[in-house]
C-alpha cells in the first residue's frame, strides 16, 4: 500500500529506504526533494502532509538526532494508519540505533548499516491490522455518543427556559446556571461568575450527572401531574438511548456507574467549589434583567467558559509544578534538557504577538511559529541556554531563510543577456491602487540609465487621470539629468503612449515591438492599479501578461500593508495562473517593497510577502526622489524585526 518509506539524516545521507508497491529505486528521491524544498526550507512545516503529483507525503522530524522520516503513498488512497506508523517507526528506529547516533556522530551515520527491514515490516503489518480491526467499532460508538449528546442538550435547553420553583435547591441552581450560560450573564471578570459557569459546563459535559438529574426531574413530574406522563416515554426512550453508551463504554462494572451518580447527588469534591460560589451567581442573576445583550454576552460567555475550562486544569498543575518548576529551570540551565511543546508554547506565543505587532500578517505569524515549534521539538539544548534564547535563535534563522532569495536576483545581468540576444528586456509592474508603481518605475529607469541601458516606458495605465502626463514629466526630467550628448547621442529614455481608454495589452505589445525596432535595452510597462477582488480588471492584467510574456513580472506592494498583503498576493497569483494558456503559467517573479521609509521597524510586510509567494524582494523603495532605490538586506530586516 505504501509507495516508499525513507529515513534520512538532515545532513542528507539516506539511512534506510523501503520501496513499496511500485517502483524504480530512484522514485523516492524526487518527491522527497520536493518535500524538503517546499515545506521544510520554506518554513511551512505546520501541517505534516504534502502532495507532489500523484503522491501524498507525510513526514516527521526528529530534532534530537537530526533525522527525517518520510512516507509516501498514492494520493487517491486514504490510509488511516500512516500517522501511527510513522510514530512507531520513529520510536523503534531511534531506540534501536541510539548508540550510533549519540556516540559516533556523523561517522556512525556513514558507516552504520541500518538493517531495519524486519522491524519495519512487523510494524507495518501491525499498523495495517489495527486499522482494519478498528474500523467497524469506531463508527458504532461515535454514532451513539453523538446522538446521546444531542438528546441531552435539547433537554437542557428546554428545561432552562422554563422557570422552576418547586424543585430541589440543587435543581434550581442547576437550571439557573444553565440559564446564565444560555442567557445574558454579565461577563464581568469576577471569578465568582465564571467559576459556576465553568462548573456548569463541566456538569453539562458529564452526561451521567445530567441523565441522573433528568431522571429525578421526571420522577417529580410523574408525581405532580399525570398529563406530563405523555412526555415521560419520550424522555425515557431518549434516556434509554442515553443509557446504552454508558453501559457499553464502562463495560460490565455496574458498581462504578453507581458510584458516579452518587457523587453527583452528594455534592462530591468536583462539585464543591461550585456550591461555594452558587449563592453569588444566583443572587446576581435575580437582580439583573438578562436578555438585552443576549447575543454578545452569549458569545463572550462561551469564550470565557472555554478559557476557564482550559485554565482550571492548568491551575492545579501549576500549583503542583511550582517547586518542580524551579528545579526544572536549574536542571535546564546546567544539564541537557530536551525541548517539549509545553516549554516552547509560552515563548512562541510571545514571539507570535511580537511578530504581529511588527506588522507581519497574522496567519503567517501563526504558521511560522508552528513551523519553528516542529523544528525544535525534542531538540536537546546546550548548557546555559534558556528556552527563550533557543526559540529566538531558531526563529531568527527561519526569518533569514525566508528572506533569502530562492533564485538569482540580478536584473542588470539579465538585461545584459537580453542585450546580447538583441531583444528588449520587458519588466511589468502590477499592484493595487496607490502603492507607488509609477514612482518606482521612474526610480528604476533612472538606475538603469545610470548603468548605461536605454529605457522605453510603456504607459499602459490608460485609466487613471494624469497617468500618462506623470510619466511624461518623469521622462522629461530623466532626459534632463542624462542628456543624449553624454550618452553618445542616443535618447536614454522615451515614453510610448497611446492616450487614454485604449486596451493596455495592445499598447504593451506595440511598445515592445517598437523597442525591438529602435534598439532599446529595457521596456518598463506601467499598468493601472487594481483591487485584487475586481475580476474583470484582474482578467485584463492576466491577459496583458500572458500575451506579452514579459521577462520580469514585479508586484509592487507597500510596506505599510498588513494582513491585506496575503490576500493581494494570493489573488494576483491566482488570477495570473487561471488566465494563462501555457502549461506553466507566468506568476509574479519578484516584489518591489515601497514606502519603506514610512515604517520605522515594523518591517513585517517583507516577511508576509516573501512567505506567501516565495519570490524575492528585488527592490525596496525608500523615498520619492530618484536615488531612493535600495536592495534588500535580509539580516538588517530580521534584526529590526526581532528587536524588542
Amino acid at each position: 500500500m505504501l509507495d516508499f518509506f525513507t529515513i534520512f539524516s538532515k545532513g542528507g545521507l539516506v539511512l534506510w529506504c523501503f520501496q513499496g508497491v511500485r517502483g524504480p529505486a530512484a522514485a523516492a528521491t524526487a518527491p522527497v526533494n520536493a518535500l524538503i524544498r517546499s515545506v521544510l526550507l520554506q518554513e511551512r512545516g505546520g501541517n505534516n502532509s504534502f502532495t507532489h503529483e500523484a503522491l501524498t507525503l507525510k513526514y516527521k522530524l526528529d530534532n534530537q538526532f537530526e533525522l527525517v522520516f518520510v512516507v509516501g503513498f498514492q494520493k487517491i488512497l486514504t490510509l488511516t494508519y500512516v500517522d501511527k506508523l510513522i510514530d512507531d517507526v520513529h520510536k523503534e528506529f531511534r531506540d534501536k540505533y541510539r548508540n550510533e547516533f549519540q556516540q559516533k556522530g556523523t561517522l556512525g551515520l556513514l558507516n552504520g548499516t541500518f538493517d531495519f527491514k524486519d522491524d519495519f515490516m512487523r510494524l507495518l503489518r501491525d499498523a495495517e491490522e489495527s486499522s482494519k480491526v478498528r474500523a467497524p467499532t469506531v463508527m458504532k460508538t461515535f454514532e451513539q455518543s453523538l446522538k446521546s449528546q444531542k438528546t441531552v442538550k435539547c433537554m437542557i435547553e428546554t428545561r432552562g427556559e422554563k422557570p422552576k420553583e418547586k424543585v430541589k435547591n440543587k435543581k434550581n441552581k442547576g437550571s439557573k446556571k444553565e440559564g446564565t450560560e444560555a442567557v445574558a450573564a454579565p461577563g464581568k471578570a469576577s471569578a465568582g461568575d465564571k467559576q459556576p459557569s465553568a462548573a456548569g459546563e463541566r456538569e453539562e459535559l458529564t452526561k451521567d450527572e445530567i441523565l441522573q438529574k433528568n431522571r429525578e426531574e421526571f420522577f417529580k413530574r410523574h408525581m405532580k401531574a399525570g398529563e406530563k406522563s405523555s412526555k415521560s416515554p419520550k424522555p425515557e426512550a431518549q434516556k434509554e438511548k442515553g443509557k446504552k453508551p454508558r453501559v457499553w463504554d464502562l463495560g460490565n462494572s455496574n458498581a462504578k456507574v453507581l458510584d458516579y451518580s452518587n457523587s453527583a447527588t452528594n455534592g462530591s469534591a468536583e462539585a464543591c467549589p461550585v456550591e461555594e460560589f452558587d449563592p453569588d451567581t444566583a443572587l446576581g442573576d435575580r437582580n439583573r434583567e438578562p436578555g438585552r445583550l443576549y447575543d454578545l454576552e452569549y458569545e463572550s460567555d462561551d469564550e470565557a467558559e472555554g478559557e476557564k475550562v482550559i485554565q482550571n486544569p492548568s491551575k492545579p498543575s501549576a500549583k503542583k509544578g511550582g517547586l518542580g518548576g524551579m528545579f526544572g529551570m536549574l536542571k535546564g540551565l546546567v544539564g541537557s534538557k530536551s525541548l517539549t511543546r509545553e516549554d516552547m508554547d509560552p515563548v512562541l506565543e510571545k514571539m507570535k504577538d511580537h511578530l504581529i505587532a511588527k506588522n507581519v500578517a497574522a496567519e503567517i505569524a501563526v504558521q511560522l511559529c508552528e513551523s519553528v515549534a516542529k523544528k525544535l521539538e525534542g531538540k536537546v539544548m546546550g548548557t546555559f541556554t534558556t528556552v527563550t534564547s533557543t526559540v529566538k535563535q531558531a526563529l531568527q534563522e527561519a526569518l533569514v531563510q525566508i528572506l533569502q532569495p530562492q533564485r538569482r536576483v540580478d536584473v542588470l545581468r539579465d538585461v545584459m543577456d537580453a542585450q546580447r540576444h538583441r531583444r528588449p528586456y520587458v519588466v511589468t509592474f502590477c499592484g493595487v491602487n496607490g502603492v507607488g508603481k509609477s514612482t518606482n518605475l521612474a526610480k528604476i529607469s533612472f538606475w538603469l540609465i545610470e548603468n548605461g541601458f536605454s529605457v522605453l516606458i510603456a504607459a499602459c495605465d490608460t485609466f487613471r487621470a494624469g497617468a500618462v502626463e506623470q510619466l511624461r514629466t518623469h521622462t522629461r526630467r530623466l532626459n534632463a539629468l542624462h542628456p543624449p550628448e553624454s550618452h553618445g547621442g542616443r535618447t536614454m529614455v522615451q515614453l510610448y503612449e497611446k492616450g487614454y481608454g485604449k486596451d493596455a495589452a495592445g499598447i504593451a505589445m506595440e511598445a515592445i515591438s517598437y523597442a525591438r525596432n529602435q534598439g532599446f535595452d529595457v521596456v518598463l510597462v506601467d499598468t493601472a492599479g487594481r483591487m485584487q477582488d475586481n475580476a474583470p480588471l484582474m482578467t485584463a492584467l492576466a491577459k496583458l501578461i500572458a500575451v506579452n510574456a514579459p521577462d520580469l513580472v514585479l508586484f509592487v506592494g507597500e510596506a505599510l500593508v498588513g494582513n491585506e498583503a496575503v490576500d493581494q498576493l494570493v489573488k494576483f497569483n491566482k488570477a495570473l495562473a487561471d488566465h494563462s494558456m501555457a502549461q506553466t503559467p507566468r506568476l509574479i517573479d519578484g516584489i518591489v517593497l515601497t514606502k519603506f521609509d514610512t515604517i520605522d521597524d515594523k518591517v513585517g510586510a517583507a516577511i508576509s510577502m516573501t512567505y506567501i509567494t516565495s519570490k524575492p524582494i528585488v527592490f525596496v523603495g525608500t523615498g520619492q526622489t530618484y536615488c531612493d532605490l535600495r536592495s534588500l538586506n535580509a539580516k538588517a530586516v530580521v534584526a529590526a524585526l526581532m528587536k524588542a
Partner: protein, 259 residues
Amino acid sequence: GMAGGLEPHLEALRRELRAPGPALLSVLLALLAVAITFLIWRFVQGRRSSRKAVLLLGLCDAGKTLLFARLLTGKYRDTQTSITDSSAVYRVSNDKSGNVTLIDLPGHESLRLQFLERFKAAARAIVFVVDSVAFQREVKDVAEFLYQVLVDSTVLKNAPALLIACNKQDVTMAKSAKLIQQQLEKELNTLRVTRSAAPTSLDGSATGGPAQLGKKGKDFDFSQLPMRVEFVECSARGSKGEEGDADFEGLEKWLAKVA
C-alpha cells in the same frame, strides 16, 4: 588619645602607598605575568585551532554530500537534499599527522549563506563543487555563488586555498575543467560590474562588498585572487557506478597538500 593612635597608622598607610614596598610590587608583577601568559595562550590557541576545516560548497545537487561520504568511507550512499551541515574528521591516507575536518554545507539557496557565515572563519581550504553536466545551464548561478564566496571579507582576509572540483565527470556530457574555468572567468568578469552597480543595501553597505575582485582594468582571471586556486576533475559516483570506487585522485592529492 584616639586621634593620636590613628595618626601613626595613617602615616604608615600614606608612606606605603607613596613608595610601593616589595610586597605590593611583587603582587603587581605576578598579575602582569598572569595576564601576559593568558594572552599568549589565547593567541596560540587561536592560531592552532582556528582553521582546520575544509568546507564543501556548491549549488544544490552538485554532489557534495556524496563526495563527503566517499571521502570518509569510500562507500556509495544514497543522498537527499541536505538541510543542515555535517562534519567529520578526515585522515589523509598516507600522512599520519595530517587530518582535517571536512564540513559538508547545504547548497540550497536559502541556507547556503547562513551556513557559510557560520563556518567561514574556521576554513583552511574551500572545495567548490560544480556539476559539470548542468554547468552550461547553471553557469550564472554557479558564478553568483562563487562571487559571493570570493568577495566575503573573512575569506579575503584568510585567503584559504580554493579548489574547484568539477564533479560528475562519469557522465559523457560533462564539461572539462578547462572549459569551466574559462566560462567562470568570463562570467565573474561580468558580475564584477553588475554586482557593484546594484542598488545599495538598506543599511548602507553595498551588496557586492567594498572589495574589488581581481584587478581593475584587466579581465578577471583566477590568478588575480589572493588565494591559490586550482581546478580538478572528479567523479563521486565513479565510472563503475555504485559498486566501484570514486574517481577523485586529484581531490585527494590536493587535500593531502592542504592538510
